[in-house]
Protein backbone atom coordinates (compact mmCIF):
# COMPACT_ATOMS: atom_id res chain seq x y z
CA UNK A 1 0.00 0.00 0.00
CA UNK A 2 1.30 3.41 -0.90
CA UNK A 3 1.87 5.64 2.11
CA UNK A 4 0.15 8.99 2.42
CA UNK A 5 2.04 12.27 2.22
CA UNK A 6 2.97 13.34 5.73
CA UNK A 7 1.79 16.56 7.32
CA UNK A 8 2.39 17.53 10.93
CA UNK A 9 -0.64 17.08 13.23
CA UNK A 10 -2.17 20.47 13.78
CA UNK A 11 -5.02 21.89 15.76
CA UNK A 12 -6.11 25.46 16.21
CA UNK A 13 -8.79 27.01 18.34
CA UNK A 14 -11.42 29.01 16.47
CA UNK A 15 -11.48 32.40 18.11
CA UNK A 16 -14.40 34.77 18.06
CA UNK A 17 -13.45 37.82 16.07
CA UNK A 18 -11.37 35.89 13.57
CA UNK A 19 -11.09 36.45 10.67
CA UNK A 20 -10.24 40.11 11.18
CA UNK A 21 -11.98 43.20 9.97
CA UNK A 22 -10.71 42.73 6.44
CA UNK A 23 -11.00 38.96 6.33
CA UNK A 24 -8.15 36.53 6.45
CA UNK A 25 -5.14 37.53 4.46
CA UNK A 26 -3.73 34.50 2.89
CA UNK A 27 -0.16 34.42 1.77
CA UNK A 28 -0.45 30.76 1.35
CA UNK A 29 -0.83 30.25 -2.36
CA UNK A 30 2.36 28.43 -3.17
CA UNK A 31 4.85 30.01 -5.54
CA UNK A 32 6.62 27.00 -6.98
CA UNK A 33 8.24 28.73 -9.97
CA UNK A 34 9.85 32.09 -10.61
CA UNK A 35 9.61 33.17 -14.25
CA UNK A 36 9.09 29.56 -15.27
CA UNK A 37 12.06 28.15 -13.34
CA UNK A 38 11.19 25.84 -10.47
CA UNK A 39 12.27 26.90 -7.01
CA UNK A 40 13.47 23.39 -6.37
CA UNK A 41 15.71 23.43 -9.43
CA UNK A 42 17.07 26.84 -8.44
CA UNK A 43 18.09 25.70 -4.97
CA UNK A 44 19.46 22.41 -6.28
CA UNK A 45 21.69 24.24 -8.75
CA UNK A 46 22.56 27.38 -6.84
CA UNK A 47 22.01 26.61 -3.16
CA UNK A 48 19.88 28.04 -0.39
CA UNK A 49 19.41 30.78 0.64
CA UNK A 50 19.37 32.28 -2.84
CA UNK A 51 18.69 35.75 -4.21
CA UNK A 52 16.73 35.66 -7.44
CA UNK A 53 16.12 38.62 -9.74
CA UNK A 54 13.67 38.66 -12.63
CA UNK A 55 14.88 40.51 -15.72
CA UNK A 56 11.37 40.30 -17.12
CA UNK A 57 9.93 42.12 -14.09
CA UNK A 58 12.71 44.71 -14.01
CA UNK A 59 11.99 45.64 -17.60
CA UNK A 60 8.21 45.51 -17.39
CA UNK A 61 8.00 47.64 -14.23
CA UNK A 62 10.44 50.16 -15.72
CA UNK A 63 8.37 50.41 -18.90
CA UNK A 64 5.20 50.84 -16.89
CA UNK A 65 6.74 53.68 -14.87
CA UNK A 66 8.14 55.37 -17.97
CA UNK A 67 4.78 55.12 -19.68
CA UNK A 68 2.97 56.70 -16.71
CA UNK A 69 5.19 59.77 -17.00
CA UNK A 70 5.81 60.01 -20.72
CA UNK A 71 2.11 59.87 -21.57
CA UNK A 72 1.64 62.98 -19.39
CA UNK A 73 4.79 65.00 -20.01
CA UNK A 74 6.94 65.44 -23.12
CA UNK A 75 10.46 65.18 -21.67
CA UNK A 76 11.10 62.44 -19.09
CA UNK A 77 14.36 60.83 -18.03
CA UNK A 78 14.90 58.15 -15.40
CA UNK A 79 18.29 57.91 -13.65
CA UNK A 80 18.90 54.58 -11.92
CA UNK A 81 19.60 55.12 -8.23
CA UNK A 82 22.71 52.99 -7.82
CA UNK A 83 22.49 52.57 -4.06
CA UNK A 84 19.17 50.75 -4.46
CA UNK A 85 20.90 47.88 -6.28
CA UNK A 86 24.25 48.32 -7.97
CA UNK A 87 24.85 44.82 -9.22
CA UNK A 88 26.40 45.35 -12.64
CA UNK A 89 23.85 43.15 -14.40
CA UNK A 90 20.99 45.11 -12.84
CA UNK A 91 22.46 48.53 -13.70
CA UNK A 92 23.07 47.39 -17.26
CA UNK A 93 19.44 46.39 -17.72
CA UNK A 94 18.33 49.88 -16.64
CA UNK A 95 20.93 51.52 -18.86
CA UNK A 96 19.78 49.38 -21.80
CA UNK A 97 16.27 50.62 -21.11
CA UNK A 98 17.58 54.19 -21.40
CA UNK A 99 18.16 55.09 -17.76
CA UNK A 100 20.94 57.43 -16.72
CA UNK A 101 22.88 56.77 -13.49
CA UNK A 102 22.31 58.48 -10.14
CA UNK A 103 25.23 57.99 -7.76
CA UNK A 104 26.06 59.20 -4.25
CA UNK A 105 29.75 58.35 -3.78
CA UNK A 106 33.04 58.19 -5.65
CA UNK A 107 32.76 54.41 -5.60
CA UNK A 108 29.32 54.45 -7.21
CA UNK A 109 30.55 57.03 -9.73
CA UNK A 110 33.42 54.73 -10.74
CA UNK A 111 30.98 51.83 -10.96
CA UNK A 112 28.76 53.79 -13.37
CA UNK A 113 31.79 54.66 -15.53
CA UNK A 114 32.85 50.99 -15.48
CA UNK A 115 29.32 50.10 -16.59
CA UNK A 116 29.90 52.21 -19.68
CA UNK A 117 27.67 55.13 -18.72
CA UNK A 118 28.47 58.40 -20.51
CA UNK A 119 29.75 60.75 -17.75
CA UNK A 120 27.35 63.42 -19.04
CA UNK A 121 24.54 61.05 -18.01
CA UNK A 122 25.66 60.61 -14.44
CA UNK A 123 23.96 62.57 -11.67
CA UNK A 124 26.19 62.92 -8.63
CA UNK A 125 24.19 63.44 -5.41
CA UNK A 126 25.04 63.24 -1.75
CA UNK A 127 26.65 65.21 1.06
CA UNK A 128 29.99 63.37 1.04
CA UNK A 129 31.73 64.14 -2.24
CA UNK A 130 35.49 64.65 -1.89
CA UNK A 131 37.46 67.29 -3.82
CA UNK A 132 38.74 64.46 -6.03
CA UNK A 133 35.20 63.25 -6.66
CA UNK A 134 34.14 66.77 -7.62
CA UNK A 135 37.12 67.20 -9.96
CA UNK A 136 36.45 63.87 -11.66
CA UNK A 137 32.75 64.58 -12.09
CA UNK A 138 33.28 68.14 -13.29
CA UNK A 139 35.87 67.02 -15.85
CA UNK A 140 33.50 64.39 -17.15
CA UNK A 141 30.68 66.90 -17.57
CA UNK A 142 28.55 65.00 -15.03
CA UNK A 143 25.68 66.69 -13.26
CA UNK A 144 26.84 67.65 -9.77
CA UNK A 145 24.04 68.20 -7.28
CA UNK A 146 25.33 70.48 -4.54
CA UNK A 147 24.25 69.52 -1.04
CA UNK A 148 25.70 72.26 1.19
CA UNK A 149 27.57 75.56 1.11
CA UNK A 150 30.94 73.98 1.90
CA UNK A 151 30.61 71.92 -1.24
CA UNK A 152 29.54 74.96 -3.20
CA UNK A 153 32.67 76.84 -2.09
CA UNK A 154 34.97 73.87 -2.76
CA UNK A 155 33.60 73.43 -6.24
CA UNK A 156 33.72 77.17 -6.97
CA UNK A 157 37.39 77.16 -5.95
CA UNK A 158 38.13 74.10 -8.05
CA UNK A 159 36.35 75.55 -11.05
CA UNK A 160 39.25 77.90 -11.71
CA UNK A 161 41.65 75.03 -12.39
CA UNK A 162 39.23 72.98 -14.49
CA UNK A 163 39.10 73.02 -18.30
CA UNK A 164 35.31 73.34 -18.36
CA UNK A 165 32.65 75.00 -16.27
CA UNK A 166 31.17 72.45 -13.84
CA UNK A 167 27.50 71.64 -14.48
CA UNK A 168 25.54 71.87 -11.25
CA UNK A 169 22.13 71.72 -9.67
CA UNK A 170 21.24 72.39 -6.05
CA UNK A 171 19.38 69.97 -3.89
CA UNK A 172 16.41 71.66 -2.28
CA UNK A 173 14.56 70.46 0.82
CA UNK A 174 11.13 71.74 1.65
CA UNK A 175 7.88 71.33 3.51
CA UNK A 176 5.51 69.26 1.38
CA UNK A 177 3.06 68.59 4.16
CA UNK A 178 4.49 65.20 5.05
CA UNK A 179 6.11 64.10 8.25
CA UNK A 180 8.98 63.70 8.85
CA UNK A 181 10.28 66.50 6.69
CA UNK A 182 13.74 65.70 5.39
CA UNK A 183 15.84 68.79 5.93
CA UNK A 184 19.33 67.42 6.41
CA UNK A 185 20.14 67.28 2.71
CA UNK A 186 20.38 70.33 0.50
CA UNK A 187 19.16 73.88 0.95
CA UNK A 188 15.83 74.77 2.45
CA UNK A 189 13.16 76.34 0.29
CA UNK A 190 11.03 78.04 2.90
CA UNK A 191 13.76 79.83 4.82
CA UNK A 192 15.53 81.23 1.77
CA UNK A 193 18.66 79.02 1.83
CA UNK A 194 17.86 77.74 -1.64
CA UNK A 195 17.71 81.26 -3.04
CA UNK A 196 20.91 82.14 -1.23
CA UNK A 197 22.72 79.24 -2.91
CA UNK A 198 21.25 80.12 -6.30
CA UNK A 199 22.35 83.75 -5.93
CA UNK A 200 25.88 82.69 -4.99
CA UNK A 201 26.15 80.38 -8.01
CA UNK A 202 24.71 82.91 -10.44
CA UNK A 203 26.74 85.86 -9.14
CA UNK A 204 30.07 84.05 -9.04
CA UNK A 205 29.58 82.79 -12.58
CA UNK A 206 32.03 79.93 -12.08
CA UNK A 207 29.43 77.16 -12.18
CA UNK A 208 26.72 76.46 -14.74
CA UNK A 209 23.36 76.06 -12.98
CA UNK A 210 21.58 73.48 -15.10
CA UNK A 211 19.01 71.96 -12.76
CA UNK A 212 17.06 71.88 -9.52
CA UNK A 213 16.80 68.74 -7.44
CA UNK A 214 14.78 67.46 -4.53
CA UNK A 215 14.26 64.08 -2.88
CA UNK A 216 11.49 64.61 -0.38
CA UNK A 217 11.87 61.31 1.46
CA UNK A 218 11.35 57.66 0.87
CA UNK A 219 8.33 55.37 0.67
CA UNK A 220 6.11 58.45 0.41
CA UNK A 221 2.52 57.28 0.59
CA UNK A 222 1.08 60.62 -0.45
CA UNK A 223 1.31 61.37 -4.17
CA UNK A 224 0.10 64.90 -3.42
CA UNK A 225 3.36 65.73 -1.62
CA UNK A 226 5.13 65.37 -4.98
CA UNK A 227 2.74 67.85 -6.51
CA UNK A 228 3.65 70.38 -3.80
CA UNK A 229 7.37 69.70 -4.30
CA UNK A 230 7.22 70.00 -8.09
CA UNK A 231 5.31 73.27 -7.71
CA UNK A 232 8.00 74.71 -5.42
CA UNK A 233 10.85 73.72 -7.76
CA UNK A 234 8.91 75.19 -10.70
CA UNK A 235 8.58 78.43 -8.70
CA UNK A 236 12.33 78.54 -8.14
CA UNK A 237 13.02 77.86 -11.82
CA UNK A 238 10.66 80.60 -12.93
CA UNK A 239 12.19 82.95 -10.37
CA UNK A 240 15.68 82.25 -11.75
CA UNK A 241 14.45 83.00 -15.25
CA UNK A 242 12.92 86.25 -14.08
CA UNK A 243 15.87 87.39 -11.98
CA UNK A 244 18.80 86.23 -14.11
CA UNK A 245 17.23 85.56 -17.51
CA UNK A 246 18.58 82.04 -17.14
CA UNK A 247 16.71 78.85 -18.03
CA UNK A 248 17.50 75.77 -16.02
CA UNK A 249 17.39 72.61 -18.13
CA UNK A 250 15.86 70.13 -15.78
CA UNK A 251 13.85 69.51 -12.64
CA UNK A 252 14.86 66.34 -10.78
CA UNK A 253 12.21 65.00 -8.42
CA UNK A 254 14.45 62.38 -6.81
CA UNK A 255 13.10 59.01 -5.72
CA UNK A 256 10.87 57.90 -2.88
CA UNK A 257 7.84 56.33 -4.57
CA UNK A 258 6.45 53.48 -2.49
CA UNK A 259 6.93 49.98 -3.83
CA UNK A 260 4.30 47.27 -3.34
CA UNK A 261 5.74 46.36 0.04
CA UNK A 262 3.74 46.72 3.24
CA UNK A 263 5.23 48.89 5.94
CA UNK A 264 5.41 47.23 9.33
CA UNK A 265 2.32 47.91 11.37
CA UNK A 266 0.14 48.65 8.33
CA UNK A 267 -3.31 47.24 8.34
CA UNK A 268 -3.66 46.70 4.62
CA UNK A 269 -1.25 45.20 2.11
CA UNK A 270 0.82 47.82 0.29
CA UNK A 271 0.18 46.12 -3.04
CA UNK A 272 -3.48 47.16 -2.73
CA UNK A 273 -3.18 50.58 -1.15
CA UNK A 274 0.10 52.29 -2.07
CA UNK A 275 -0.07 54.98 -4.78
CA UNK A 276 0.66 53.79 -8.32
CA UNK A 277 3.10 55.27 -10.85
CA UNK A 278 0.08 56.92 -12.47
CA UNK A 279 -0.81 58.64 -9.18
CA UNK A 280 2.70 60.03 -8.70
CA UNK A 281 3.00 60.97 -12.38
CA UNK A 282 -0.31 62.79 -12.32
CA UNK A 283 0.68 64.84 -9.26
CA UNK A 284 4.13 65.80 -10.57
CA UNK A 285 3.31 66.48 -14.20
CA UNK A 286 0.17 68.51 -13.49
CA UNK A 287 2.14 70.69 -11.09
CA UNK A 288 4.77 71.32 -13.78
CA UNK A 289 2.36 71.77 -16.67
CA UNK A 290 0.14 74.10 -14.62
CA UNK A 291 3.03 76.29 -13.47
CA UNK A 292 4.24 79.28 -15.46
CA UNK A 293 6.53 77.45 -17.96
CA UNK A 294 5.84 78.12 -21.62
CA UNK A 295 4.58 74.87 -23.13
CA UNK A 296 7.44 74.87 -25.64
CA UNK A 297 10.00 75.50 -22.91
CA UNK A 298 9.24 72.87 -20.29
CA UNK A 299 12.26 71.60 -18.38
CA UNK A 300 13.32 67.96 -18.64
CA UNK A 301 11.75 65.95 -15.80
CA UNK A 302 14.26 63.61 -14.15
CA UNK A 303 13.23 60.80 -11.78
CA UNK A 304 15.62 58.87 -9.55
CA UNK A 305 13.14 56.17 -8.63
CA UNK A 306 14.77 53.27 -6.81
CA UNK A 307 12.71 50.87 -4.70
CA UNK A 308 9.47 51.22 -6.65
CA UNK A 309 11.26 50.03 -9.79
CA UNK A 310 13.05 47.00 -8.45
CA UNK A 311 11.47 45.70 -5.25
CA UNK A 312 9.04 43.48 -7.14
CA UNK A 313 11.78 41.89 -9.25
CA UNK A 314 13.66 40.47 -6.25
CA UNK A 315 13.04 37.22 -4.37
CA UNK A 316 14.87 35.34 -1.67
CA UNK A 317 14.43 31.60 -1.65
CA UNK A 318 14.99 30.15 1.79
CA UNK A 319 14.81 26.73 3.43
CA UNK A 320 13.24 25.76 6.74
CA UNK A 321 15.94 24.70 9.20
CA UNK A 322 13.69 23.85 12.13
CA UNK A 323 10.43 24.62 13.81
CA UNK A 324 9.82 24.98 17.49
CA UNK A 325 7.39 26.39 19.99
CA UNK A 326 7.99 29.47 22.05
CA UNK A 327 7.10 29.45 25.74
CA UNK A 328 3.75 31.03 24.88
CA UNK A 329 2.86 28.06 22.68
CA UNK A 330 3.41 30.13 19.58
CA UNK A 331 4.93 28.46 16.56
CA UNK A 332 8.37 29.66 15.52
CA UNK A 333 10.10 28.67 12.31
CA UNK A 334 13.81 29.05 11.70
CA UNK A 335 14.83 29.65 8.10
CA UNK A 336 18.25 29.94 6.50
CA UNK A 337 17.91 33.60 5.40
CA UNK A 338 18.35 36.19 8.13
CA UNK A 339 18.41 39.95 8.50
CA UNK A 340 22.00 39.87 7.28
CA UNK A 341 20.49 39.26 3.82
CA UNK A 342 17.10 40.85 4.31
CA UNK A 343 17.90 44.23 5.78
CA UNK A 344 14.51 45.54 4.67
CA UNK A 345 12.67 43.19 7.03
CA UNK A 346 13.27 45.92 9.62
CA UNK A 347 10.84 48.11 7.62
CA UNK A 348 8.53 45.79 5.76
CA UNK A 349 6.33 42.79 6.23
CA UNK A 350 7.65 41.04 3.15
CA UNK A 351 5.10 38.66 1.66
CA UNK A 352 6.19 35.07 2.21
CA UNK A 353 4.82 32.07 0.34
CA UNK A 354 5.56 28.35 0.48
CA UNK A 355 7.28 26.85 -2.54
CA UNK A 356 5.39 23.58 -2.51
CA UNK A 357 1.74 22.54 -2.34
CA UNK A 358 0.09 22.23 1.06
CA UNK A 359 -3.22 21.38 2.62
CA UNK A 360 -5.49 24.20 3.68
CA UNK A 361 -4.24 24.11 7.29
CA UNK A 362 -2.11 26.98 8.42
CA UNK A 363 -0.85 28.57 11.56
CA UNK A 364 0.57 31.83 12.80
CA UNK A 365 4.32 31.79 12.80
CA UNK A 366 7.19 33.90 13.90
CA UNK A 367 9.94 33.56 11.32
CA UNK A 368 13.50 33.74 12.56
CA UNK A 369 16.69 33.77 10.55
CA UNK A 370 19.66 31.49 11.30
CA UNK A 371 21.82 34.05 13.11
CA UNK A 372 22.60 33.61 16.77
CA UNK A 373 21.43 37.16 17.45
CA UNK A 374 18.18 38.31 18.96
CA UNK A 375 17.57 40.87 16.20
CA UNK A 376 17.32 38.14 13.60
CA UNK A 377 13.58 38.08 13.03
CA UNK A 378 12.23 38.14 9.47
CA UNK A 379 8.52 38.35 10.31
CA UNK A 380 6.96 38.68 13.75
CA UNK A 381 3.82 37.10 12.42
CA UNK A 382 3.09 35.24 9.20
CA UNK A 383 0.19 32.93 8.54
CA UNK A 384 1.72 29.94 6.79
CA UNK A 385 0.97 26.31 6.07
CA UNK A 386 2.54 23.67 8.28
CA UNK A 387 6.15 23.89 7.27
CA UNK A 388 8.55 21.04 7.82
CA UNK A 389 12.32 21.01 8.00
CA UNK A 390 13.66 21.16 4.45
CA UNK A 391 10.61 22.90 2.96
CA UNK A 392 11.31 25.96 0.89
CA UNK A 393 9.70 29.37 1.06
CA UNK A 394 9.86 32.41 -1.20
CA UNK A 395 10.24 35.90 0.26
CA UNK A 396 8.89 38.55 -2.10
CA UNK A 397 9.64 42.18 -3.03
CA UNK A 398 13.26 42.06 -1.92
CA UNK A 399 14.93 43.71 -4.94
CA UNK A 400 15.66 47.12 -3.40
CA UNK A 401 18.47 47.88 -0.93
CA UNK A 402 19.07 44.30 0.21
CA UNK A 403 21.79 43.62 -2.35
CA UNK A 404 23.60 46.80 -1.30
CA UNK A 405 22.89 46.96 2.43
CA UNK A 406 23.30 43.25 3.11
CA UNK A 407 25.92 42.40 5.69
CA UNK A 408 28.68 39.90 5.73
CA UNK A 409 27.79 39.01 9.28
CA UNK A 410 28.12 35.55 10.82
CA UNK A 411 27.50 33.82 7.50
CA UNK A 412 28.76 34.27 3.97
CA UNK A 413 26.59 35.87 1.34
CA UNK A 414 24.91 33.50 -1.13
CA UNK A 415 24.65 33.36 -4.92
CA UNK A 416 22.57 35.94 -6.74
CA UNK A 417 20.83 34.64 -9.83
CA UNK A 418 19.21 36.67 -12.61
CA UNK A 419 16.53 34.88 -14.64
CA UNK A 420 16.62 36.30 -18.15
CA UNK A 421 13.63 36.88 -20.41
CA UNK A 422 13.99 33.38 -21.87
CA UNK A 423 13.75 31.88 -18.35
CA UNK A 424 17.44 31.07 -18.25
CA UNK A 425 19.11 31.59 -14.86
CA UNK A 426 22.53 33.29 -14.69
CA UNK A 427 24.68 33.70 -11.60
CA UNK A 428 25.32 37.47 -11.47
CA UNK A 429 27.19 37.42 -8.17
CA UNK A 430 28.92 34.32 -6.86
CA UNK A 431 28.51 33.14 -3.32
CA UNK A 432 31.26 34.27 -0.98
CA UNK A 433 33.88 31.90 0.35
CA UNK A 434 36.21 32.04 3.32
CA UNK A 435 38.86 33.47 0.99
CA UNK A 436 36.52 36.36 0.07
CA UNK A 437 36.68 37.45 3.69
CA UNK A 438 40.22 36.43 4.54
CA UNK A 439 41.68 37.76 1.30
CA UNK A 440 42.03 41.46 2.22
CA UNK A 441 43.09 40.71 5.80
CA UNK A 442 46.74 41.00 6.86
CA UNK A 443 48.23 39.17 9.81
CA UNK A 444 51.12 40.94 11.59
CA UNK A 445 54.26 38.72 11.59
CA UNK A 446 54.13 38.02 15.32
CA UNK A 447 50.63 36.52 14.92
CA UNK A 448 51.24 34.62 11.73
Amino acid sequence: MEKKQYERPHIIKLEAGMPGKFGMRSESLPVTHIDGVSVKELTTNFGSPLFVLSERTIRSVYRKALKSFSTRYPKVQFAWSYKTNYLTAVCKIYHQEGSWAEVVSGFEYDKAIANGVDPARIIFNGPGKSADDLRKAANGGSLIHIDHLDELYTLTDLAGELPRKPLVAIRVNMDTGIYPMWDRFGFNYENGQAWDAINKIMMAGKLELVGLHTHIGTFILSAGAYGVAAGKLADLALGIRQKFGHDIRYIDMGGGFASKNTLKGSYLPGSDTNPTFDDYAEAITSALVNSGFRPDNLPLLILETGRALIDEAGYIISTVIANKRLSSGRRATIIDAGVNLLFTSFWYQHPITPAQGFSQYREDNTLYGPLCMNIDCIRESANLPLLNKGDRIVIHYTGAYNLTQWMQFITLRPNVVLIDEDSKPHVVRENEMLSTINGPEKTPPHLA
Binding site: H10, I11, K13, K389
Partner: protein
Protein backbone atom coordinates in the same frame (compact mmCIF):
# COMPACT_ATOMS: atom_id res chain seq x y z
CA UNK B 1 -2.39 10.59 29.05
CA UNK B 2 -6.10 11.06 29.08
CA UNK B 3 -8.13 12.67 26.32
CA UNK B 4 -11.47 14.31 26.91
CA UNK B 5 -13.76 11.51 25.69
CA UNK B 6 -16.71 13.74 24.81
CA UNK B 7 -14.87 15.44 21.97
CA UNK B 8 -16.78 15.30 18.70
CA UNK B 9 -14.83 15.44 15.45
CA UNK B 10 -16.62 15.91 12.15
CA UNK B 11 -15.36 14.50 8.85
CA UNK B 12 -14.05 17.88 7.74
CA UNK B 13 -11.89 18.31 10.82
CA UNK B 14 -14.18 20.43 12.93
CA UNK B 15 -13.73 19.58 16.59
CA UNK B 16 -16.18 20.56 19.32
CA UNK B 17 -15.56 20.30 23.04
CA UNK B 18 -19.00 20.05 24.71
CA UNK B 19 -17.49 20.61 28.14
CA UNK B 20 -16.34 24.13 27.34
CA UNK B 21 -18.29 24.95 24.18
CA UNK B 22 -15.10 25.70 22.32
CA UNK B 23 -14.41 24.75 18.71
CA UNK B 24 -11.22 23.85 16.88
CA UNK B 25 -10.09 22.83 13.45
CA UNK B 26 -7.80 19.90 13.18
CA UNK B 27 -6.08 18.40 10.15
CA UNK B 28 -6.67 14.75 9.12
CA UNK B 29 -3.62 13.31 10.85
CA UNK B 30 -4.45 15.33 13.98
CA UNK B 31 -8.00 13.92 13.91
CA UNK B 32 -6.62 10.38 13.54
CA UNK B 33 -4.37 10.89 16.55
CA UNK B 34 -7.24 12.22 18.64
CA UNK B 35 -9.38 9.20 17.65
CA UNK B 36 -6.53 6.87 18.61
CA UNK B 37 -6.14 8.65 21.95
CA UNK B 38 -9.89 8.29 22.53
CA UNK B 39 -9.70 4.55 21.93
CA UNK B 40 -6.93 4.36 24.50
CA UNK B 41 -3.92 3.70 22.25
CA UNK B 42 -0.51 4.23 23.80
CA UNK B 43 1.97 6.71 22.38
CA UNK B 44 4.09 3.80 21.09
CA UNK B 45 1.15 2.26 19.26
CA UNK B 46 0.10 5.56 17.77
CA UNK B 47 3.56 6.14 16.37
CA UNK B 48 3.84 2.70 14.90
CA UNK B 49 0.38 2.91 13.31
CA UNK B 50 1.16 6.33 11.82
CA UNK B 51 4.46 5.03 10.49
CA UNK B 52 2.52 2.40 8.56
CA UNK B 53 0.20 5.00 7.12
CA UNK B 54 2.43 7.97 6.38
CA UNK B 55 5.58 8.59 4.44
CA UNK B 56 7.77 9.87 7.26
CA UNK B 57 10.23 8.65 9.89
CA UNK B 58 10.05 7.82 13.56
CA UNK B 59 12.08 10.77 14.83
CA UNK B 60 9.89 13.29 13.04
CA UNK B 61 6.73 11.60 14.30
CA UNK B 62 7.95 11.50 17.89
CA UNK B 63 8.85 15.15 17.81
CA UNK B 64 5.59 16.22 16.16
CA UNK B 65 3.43 14.02 18.37
CA UNK B 66 5.09 15.46 21.44
CA UNK B 67 4.44 18.97 20.19
CA UNK B 68 0.83 18.12 19.29
CA UNK B 69 0.20 16.65 22.75
CA UNK B 70 1.56 19.81 24.34
CA UNK B 71 -0.90 21.91 22.39
CA UNK B 72 -3.78 19.57 23.27
CA UNK B 73 -2.79 20.02 26.91
CA UNK B 74 -2.63 23.75 26.50
CA UNK B 75 -6.15 23.65 25.07
CA UNK B 76 -7.10 21.40 28.00
CA UNK B 77 -8.25 18.63 25.70
CA UNK B 78 -5.66 16.27 27.08
CA UNK B 79 -4.54 15.81 30.66
CA UNK B 80 -1.64 13.97 32.25
CA UNK B 81 -2.54 10.70 33.98
CA UNK B 82 -3.48 11.30 37.57
Amino acid sequence: MKINENLAISDNGFLFNPTTGESYTVNPIGAEIIEMLKSGETQERIISRLLDMYDTDKKTLEKDLHDFSDILKQYQLLSEDE
